[in-house]
């Protein structure tokens, strides 16, 4: 069985019903894609299949044959993808475990909808983050999209003074 992942062909000898997630993690060794629930609920396993965000835990690997699979490792090696840049600029991750899936979902959203509204983000970003990085995820998507919507952390420090977390304003250099 041959799989095309991140532009490379991989010959794998695995059961056709093995979920794509486990083919990626265990047969090909790409562990950036995470197991979270196994039933397409949490989105930690999100990858792109021919450009569409899919939950790889619930797709048999046979369904990926002849299609292009892109994982988090395929976005960029040096964090130069605009969405990765925004994630770094806003210090989005806490534990980081769900962030591969969050980023892949965000990239797919911006591919379809380069200037998403908050409602668009609400509808597209259904991945679970138990650390609760959602506010920064939303802000990072706006930043990557260059929507001009700030957001992110709002911090009132001490009495009266107001600071914001790094990168609160949209940076035109990192638009998707």
């Amino acid at each position: 069985m041959q799989l095309n992942v991140n532009g490379r062909n991989h010959e794998v000898d695995i059961e056709p019903e093995m979920p794509l997630l486990w083919a990626l993690r265990e047969a090909i060794g790409l562990t950036g894609t995470k197991y979270g629930c196994g039933i397409a609920q949490c989105g930690a396993c999100t990858v792109h299949l021919d450009g569409e965000a899919v939950r790889s835990c619930s797709i048999p690997v046979s369904a990926a044959i002849g299609r292009r699979v892109v994982t988090i490792e395929g976005l960029s090696r040096d964090n130069s993808h605009p969405v990765q840049k925004a994630w770094v600029a806003l210090d989005v991750p806490q534990c980081g475990y769900c962030q591969s899936g969050q980023i892949m979902a965000a990239v797919a959203l911006l591919h379809k909808n380069p200037k998403p509204t908050d409602k668009d983000i609400d509808a597209a970003m259904t991945n679970i983050c138990r650390c609760g990085t959602y506010q920064r995820i939303r802000a990072a998507i706006h930043m990557a999209a260059g929507t001009g919507k700030g957001g992110g952390s709002i911090i009132h420090l001490g009495s009266g003074s107001i600071e914001s977390a790094p990168g609160i304003s949209a940076d035109p250099a990192i638009q998707a």
Binding site: E26, I72, P93
Partner: protein, 738 residues
């Protein structure tokens, strides 16, 4: 099948696995706690010591010739930002260049070998920074003094004449200049300074600590590069999938391994203790698929008769039973309530909830030639190593534990180490072979140590001018200590369950002054394992107290904020943080039509917190629009990280509103996220963090703000609907968060 297993085992000696009876020191459910506290700290000269020695100025600081500084950290990083915060504190005192700082976690084996020079590695109770700030700052300061002394010796000038900034040492009089990297080797040979001579900087003058610096550990979390424990790959590694009896306390009666004979990749079936069965295979998916196909008969035991209904009945009985203990008894609360102009009474109930870390429980264990190793995500790596030693039979000095950054912790991966015990028991049957045990999400939901279930009966007396003259608060619920640390219960009184309602200052103090006050706890345990859940008992206690205070304020005809302010006058820090939240939220200012405010305050983990929520209710739909949360954590080491923790608090606090573990036939019913709702992005409000440190104590950050989130929202719902929500989650009141 036995033969098949034997033949397939790559490393032999694995015959009759399934019938081998394991003696596991502690079963999966009900394991011991705080293993790290009782380690016998003998001397051990490990190879690790040599590897650490070269450029080491002291245990905390390594300076390399290129001026880069490695700061060693003992506490675990699970997303809370402790690694970056501790590095800031060391860097602040050290005076090195922040841009050249990196972090190196130490191992429990290294800590043991060096007589615990890095002290406590456990990371819980929001202690990561406050519990180690003093000695890590001193470590940084001592290293600075040694580096400066080395330069002074080289130039033969008094050390007092030297200055340092960003790792560059200068002597103004001579114009000499050098850098940390150039004097580190000489500094390392000096005698460390007398601890009494170390003077720490005034936190108000901090330049690195106290600033919202970027985290040091973000880069490989956005490209898939970070290796969590679950991602570990070792040569020849096998994978295990496990299932424990779904009924807590039940055991394995039998299983039929012939049904999975010949399945591709399967290496063996292992009975783990009396309670669980694991299938070992060459990949996890094959192990898990085979486990799903393996018929297992359980002896479910007497607990199979238990349900949420039987548990609720037991707790309700505790609300009026005679065996409660009074932790606070001031005046005559019961008499004063009876004699008051107005009485208010309510019963609240809060369910079991699960941690549901995104990275399921897992570890990899290799046991060979008198040596044992474990790779794991742990909040207490020393406890992990102790569990490994206990189960493997390998002495601690021949054990090592490699902690990975955790994919969520929230209190789940602390002292119990049930997954390490299981992993060690399985790996013991495959000598020399690393075996990675990974729990499925279903196993993770079914065998957690849940936030304890509770009910609370509250009664109040309000006098004719609308003041609260008497309060009686009786908690009836399960005890964490009874399950995990019974030695902490003195004379049958488990004070821990009243966290946040204690009269004593400094940790989790009840803030209100009420002339007649009775606070009681009736312990009502169940067969369900319970444990610390981020924020622990402040979560339910804050809901009980702050929702009921809101009911009292309304009964008294008082403004929610003013009613609280009047009772907090003797506790200025509680009052201060409440005022800060109210001010930034614009308490009393007009809101859009249909939007209502709720407020709450509480104390936990030595920090004072308050929250204001803006809420609307449309039919069954509850929308939280904005939340302002304030904390006085004493010192704010990294305001951006504190804000991240506050933002995360809201999401985790949402569990208190919408999540529930129920018990049916003795087992957990909610086994995955389709039946166990947790916070999603669309539900989250705009969150503002108000950080008001008073610089006179050290408080926690990771947990304290969670507990005010839910009651502030519940009080907003009460303001919107006029109806209190007393039974959680919200669905029992026909409400849903949108």
């Amino acid at each position: 099948m036995k033969k098949i297993i034997s033949e397939k085992a790559q490393h032999g000696k694995v015959t009759n696995l399934s019938r081998r009876r394991f003696v596991v020191a502690s079963a999966a459910a009900g394991g011991g706690l705080a293993l790290g506290l009782n380690l016998p700290f003998g001397s051990r000269t490990a190879a690790a010591q040599g590897s650490l020695a070269s450029a080491e100025v002291n245990a905390w600081v390594v300076v390399k010739p290129d001026d880069s500084c490695v700061i060693r950290i003992a506490r675990a990083e699970m997303g809370q930002g402790t690694h970056t915060g501790l590095a800031q504190l060391v860097c602040e005192e050290l005076g090195c260049d922040w841009n050249k700082v990196s972090i190196e976690p130490i191992t429990p084996g290294q800590n043991l070998a060096r007589k615990r020079v890095w002290r406590d590695m456990s990371t819980g109770g929001s202690r990561g920074i406050r519990g180690s700030q003093d000695y890590v700052r001193r470590g940084g300061a001592a290293a600075r003094m040694m580096l400066l002394q080395a330069a002074a010796d080289r130039w033969n000038v008094p050390v007092a004449e030297l200055a340092v900034a960003n790792g560059v040492i200068t002597h103004a009089a001579s114009g000499n200049s050098t850098s940390y990297g150039k004097v580190a080797e000489a500094a390392a040979k000096l005698t460390p300074p007398d601890p009494k001579s170390i003077k720490l900087k005034d936190p108000r003058s901090w330049k690195i600590a106290g600033k919202p610096l970027k985290r040091l550990d973000t880069a490989d979390k956005v490209n898939g590069g970070k290796k969590y424990s679950i991602d570990l790959a070792l040569p020849g590694m096998l994978h295990a999938a496990i299932r424990a009896c779904p009924v807590f306390g039940g055991t394995v009666a039998s299983f039929d391994e012939s049904k999975i004979a010949g399945r591709r990749g399967v290496q063996g079936v292992v009975k783990v203790g009396e309670t669980a069965v694991a299938v070992v295979a060459d990949t996890w998916w094959r192990a898990k698929s085979a486990l799903d196909a393996l018929p297992i008969v359980w002896d479910e035991g007497p607990a199979a008769k238990e349900s949420s209904a039987t548990i609720a009945t037991r707790l309700t009985e505790g609300l009026t039973a005679g065996d409660a203990f009074a932790d606070t008894n001031v005046g005559d609360a019961i008499g004063a309530i009876a004699g008051a102009a107005k009485q208010v009474e309510a019963v609240y109930s809060t369910p079991f909830v699960s941690h549901s870390c995104m990275e399921p429980m897992n570890c990899t264990v290799r046991i060979s030639d008198g040596k044992a190793e474990v790779w794991m995500p742990s909040q207490n790596a020393e406890a992990s190593m102790a569990a490994l030693s206990a189960v493997s039979g390998v002495p601690l000095a021949q054990c090592e534990a490699y902690n990975h950054g955790l994919g969520g912790g929230f209190g789940r991966r602390g002292g119990t180490q049930d997954f390490v015990r299981q992993g060690a028991a399985i790996a013991k049957q495959f000598p020399g072979v690393p075996v990675k045990l990974t729990w499925s999400r279903e196993e993770d939901q079914a065998h957690d140590f849940y936030r304890p279930i509770g009910q609370c009966k509250l009664s109040a007396g309000i006098d004719s001018d609308g003041s609260l003259v008497a309060l009686h608060l009786r908690v009836s619920g399960q005890s964490i200590n009874a399950h995990l640390a019974p030695h902490n219960i003195k004379e049958g009184k488990d004070r821990r369950q009243l966290q946040g309602l204690w009269p004593q200052p400094h940790d989790a103090q009840f803030g209100y002054t009420v002339p007649n006050l009775l606070i009681e706890y009736a312990m009502r345990n169940t067969h369900v394992p319970v444990g610390p859940w981020r924020g622990v008992n402040t979560n339910q206690n804050a809901i009980y107290l702050e929702c009921f205070i809101e009911e009292c304020a309304r009964a008294a005809g008082k403004d929610s904020l003013e009613f609280r302010r009047a009772m907090l006058q003797r506790h200025p820090k509680h009052l201060g943080v409440l005022n800060a939240a109210a001010e930034k939220a614009g308490w009393g200012t007009p809101l859009p039509a249909g939007v209502h405010r709720g407020i709450a305050q509480f104390m936990g983990y030595a920090s004072y917190t308050a929250a204001v929520a803006e809420v609307s209710v449309n039919g069954s739909e509850v929308k939280v629009h904005r939340m302002v949360l304030a904390t006085n954590c004493g010192h704010a080491v990294n305001p951006a990280t504190i804000a991240a923790q506050i933002e995360g608090s809201v999401a985790y606090g949402f569990d208190s509103l919408q999540s529930e573990i129920t018990i049916q036939n003795g087992r957990v019913a909610e086994l995955n996220f389709h039946t166990y709702p947790v916070a999603r992005l669309a539900q989250l409000p705009k969150i503002e963090s108000v950080i008001v440190p008073t610089y006179d104590f050290w408080g926690g950050v990771g947990e304290p703000t969670i507990c005010v989130s839910a009651p502030a929202i519940l009080n907003g719902i009460l303001a919107a609907t006029g109806k209190p929500v007393r039974t959680l989650p919200l669905k029992h009141s026909g409400l849903v968060l949108v």
